[in-house]
Each structure stands twice: as structure tokens, then as C-alpha cells.
Symmetry: C2
Subunit: 281 residues, 2 copies
């Protein structure tokens, strides 16, 4: 699929909007189709934080998935307008109670966090292998600074230089974090706290069309559900993870945001109920 | 660990003996230490089906685990007395109600099955990548002939030439099987039936010493629990899978059968309860 709408912030905000109001901060080029902005607006997403750089070209990623759909292979990344991007939050955005720091350099994640007028009620950050390889110390700073550092199993193993996910999770918890959440693609996700463990299965998808953005969808849905319920108990975190898994699995059912933009509350609730059935014994 | 007690049948029968009476059929050389036979006997395992080949050397496998503890790399396999092994069941064993066909050539698995006086109440078979590579059609025959064909995720993907486990499971179900169980190592296991799906998480082991035999332990515990309860409903199958996961995780906590030979019913029940806690939401 060529030039499909994508990007961490787009997936995350669409996923978030299924549960809660979302605002988006980012940059696109003047080549960015108006219909994409209209789609985001139609979902109630505040797009005032999207900077449209005149004459600039939108960030473009081209990748492919091999046999293992959990791992994307990057063919080409054109940073374009992302080069030199330095987000400045509006006064309104600085007051936000919930902050999702999508996948961007850890320096920019810390910069956005530092612009907040007061500490948000909840800060969730995502990361990726590229930053762990090139800026490991800064990524660790982000993990320490936020409430929930989301990473997938490969990233957790890489960041903490261990093959054992339980050990990696304990490292996350030691970095001043109350919960460690590790995403495992088709194998679901895990949450560790000091004294509890939660395992959420993957949704058994027979046809995975495109897993791009599923991690971002997971993050957006997670913070969206937590913002909606304003309940950060471990019990509610478990529910948030199951909702996040539902949305991530919907996202993989079609290319780009095609599935995310059409699912209804009823679709989400139906899938959530299925998870109860999957784990019952 | 050198010359540690092992082998599919040993792991499976020790795991089975935690729930039910077990008998073992196999062959060893006269180098096989008597203390190993004594251990099996002390667990109430009927070892009358173990043939001791005079002057023969016991089968020996040497392998190693890299970063990914789900995948063993074979360094050396000495078939020794397994060469030309052709098990002939005793009259008593031919009457067994429950049959576990451990990892051996599919031809021998079918031969053992054909020796049964009547169709057992339940036949479970294991397999491995080597047979799928070299005797794929025969492995498919075994899958068709037995009630539960156990395989791990890599084997299922390889056998049905698909990366998608849901599709692989449907192929198993199409081969005249009521349930498809796919083991996923640290990621737990899945059961598919025509109209239901069960996901059992992996036990979060911080220290995996040696996963050798965990798959066999899973199989032995599964059939042991089903033999004990004689209830093949899907609800009870789910319980059997959770018990099997408990035993498989215990096995990985120490080398050889060191952990299997010491765990108590109370250990097993305590771990079983933890699984309830892991999946609750």
C-alpha cells in the first residue's frame, strides 16, 4: 500500500478517540492530503497541534513484513519535515491531564514532557529499537521519567540486555515505574507490578493484513481508556490492556487506518467479551 | 550438564505420574544407570516396557540453547540403541486406555497405535521438526490418526506451511481432530476447537535453567490429568492445559528431571492457582 496514512500519532490518536477526547501534536508537509485531516477531525480529534510545513514533504516510511509479522523490515525512511522538528505545545495542550509520547527521539519526548504546565495524571511513552541502539541512556531516562514505558518484547530484551522478559520487566520496575507493560504482538502482552502479573493473550487473527501501527494503537487505546475511567488501579489497568489489545488487533485486520476509522463501540465491546472467553478455565 | 537423564518418555512419564499411573515403553543400553530406573519405579511408573539392550549404548543427545530458550540447537545425536528400535507392546500395555506417543519416527508411532487391542479412550502424539522435514506425509498421518496432536508453534507453521497459527490450527482441526493444541514455550499455549479458543499464558519464570523436556512434560501432564479425571469436555481440557503448563514450567527450573522428581501435589496446586490470578480481569 503506497502513501497510506500512518504515523504513530495518527494511529494512537484514532485509537484513543474510541474512548476519550484526543489531541495530536505533529508535523506534516503541504503534500499531506486534506482528507486525512478531515478524518481526524471527524473523530473529534483536536488537530490544532499539527504543524503544516509549507513546501515541506511529509515523513514517509516504506517497509515490509516477512514471514514473521511481528517484525517490520524498514526499506526506506524519508524523515522530510521531521528533520529539525521541535514540537512546541500550545497553552491548552500544556494543561493536558494525559500525555502519550509516541515513537520519536527520546530527546523530543523529554522536551514535550518538560513543557507541561503541571505533571499530567498519567504519562505513557513508546519507543523503538532505533533509539535503543543509538541513544540507550536517553531511552532509559524516558523510562524513568514516565509512568508507563511501553515496549515490545524485542525492545525490552535489547534495552535491558537480557533474554528473559521477567528480568527485563523487573528492570523497568526498578526505574521508578509502578507498572511494566510488554507487548508481544501475536502472543499478547504482559503487565508486571511489584507483586502481581497479568498476561493478556493475543487475539487469534486468521488474516493479518498489516500490523503497522498496532503498537501505537495499543498505546493510544490504553491511555484513552485510562483517561475515560480515571482509575489507575491494577484491576483497571488490566482492563485497559485488554481494550488496547482489542484495538491493536482490529488495526491489523486492514491496511493503514482503514479498520480503526470504521469500528464502533459495539465492535469493541464484543471483542472485549471474547477475551473473557479466551482465558476462562 | 553431561549424561543427564532425559528422553521424551522419561520426562513425559514423570510428568504423567504426578496425576495418574504411568507405564513406559522404550529402549536403553546396558550403560543406563540403575538409579534412573529406580527413580522411575519410585514414582510408581511401570518400567516393564523398558528394554535393556545388552552391550548397547543408550541414546544420547547433546544440544545447546542460545539467546532464544525456545529453540534448542542440536550439537550431536547418537541414536545408539534407538537404531532399529521396534517397540512391541506387552499384552497389558495393549489394553491401555490412554496412550502418549512421544517424539519418535511417525512410523513407530503408528506401529505402536496399531498394536493396541482396542482404540484407547485418548491418544496424544508429539512430533518434532526433524520428522516434519523428512517425513511430512507420515506426520500428517499421525495427526489424523490420534485425538490430540501436540506441536509447538514453529512445528505447526512448518507442517502446514503457513506463518499464521490460527490457520495452522484449522488445518489440524480439518484432519479429523477435535482439538488443536499449540505450545509456544514462554508464550504459553493455545487450544482451538471448531467454535472456541483458549489461551493459556506462560508461567513468568525469572530463571530458566534448562527447557529441555518441557514439551514432553507438557504432554505427559496433559494426558495424566485427562486420565485422572476421565473428562474430555473442552472445559476440562482447558484445566488439563493449565496443569500441563505448570509442570512444563517446573521442569525448566532445573537441569534434567531434577525439578520434576521433587515437586509435590501442593506445589502443583499452588502454581495452578497462580494461573487464575495471571489471567483475571
Amino acid at each position: 500500500m503506497n502513501n497510506a496514512l500512518g504515523g504513530s500519532a495518527v494511529y494512537a490518536s484514532l485509537a484513543c478517540s474510541l474512548f476519550s477526547n484526543a489531541g495530536i501534536v505533529g508535523v506534516v508537509g503541504s503534500d499531506f492530503p486534506k482528507k486525512h485531516l478531515d478524518l481526524l477531525k471527524s473523530k473529534g480529534i483536536d488537530i490544532s497541534g499539527i504543524e503544516i510545513k509549507k513546501g515541506g514533504k511529509t515523513f514517509h516510511w516504506k517497509g515490509e513484513y516477512g514471514a514473521d509479522l511481528n517484525v517490520a523490515k524498514t526499506i526506506k525512511t524519508d524523515l522530510n519535515v521531521l528533520t529539525g522538528f521541535n514540537p512546541v505545545l500550545s497553552d491548552e495542550f500544556r494543561k493536558a491531564d494525559f500525555l502519550f509520547l509516541g515513537n520519536i527521539t527520546p530527546e523530543l519526548q523529554l522536551s514535550v514532557l518538560s513543557q507541561m504546565e503541571k505533571r499530567p495524571k498519567l504519562v505513557v511513552a513508546d519507543t523503538m529499537n532505533l533509539w535503543i541502539e543509538t541513544r540507550r541512556e536517553k531511552v532509559l531516562e524516558v523510562v524513568k521519567a514516565v509512568d508507563i514505558a511501553l515496549m515490545n518484547d524485542a525492545e525490552a530484551r535489547q534495552l535491558f540486555q537480557t533474554t528473559n522478559l521477567v528480568k527485563a520487566a523487573q528492570q523497568i520496575l526498578r526505574l521508578d515505574s509502578e507498572v511494566a507493560i510488554i507487548k508481544k504482538g501475536e502472543h499478547g502482552s504482559l503487565m508486571f507490578t511489584k507483586d502481581s502479573h497479568f498476561a493478556c493473550p493475543g487475539y487469534p487473527l486468521e488474516n493479518v493484513k498489516d500490523p503497522t501501527g498496532s503498537g501505537d494503537s495499543f498505546g493510544g487505546a490504553l491511555i484513552g481508556y485510562l483517561a475515560k475511567t480515571a482509575d489507575f488501579s491494577h484491576a483497571n489497568m488490566r482492563k485497559a490492556i485488554v481494550y488496547a489489545s482489542c484495538i491493536a488487533s482490529f488495526n491489523a485486520e486492514d491496511f493503514s487506518v482503514n479498520r480503526l476509522k470504521e469500528i464502533s463501540d459495539a465492535d469493541v465491546e464484543a471483542r472485549f467479551s471474547q477475551f473473557h472467553e479466551f482465558v476462562r478455565f
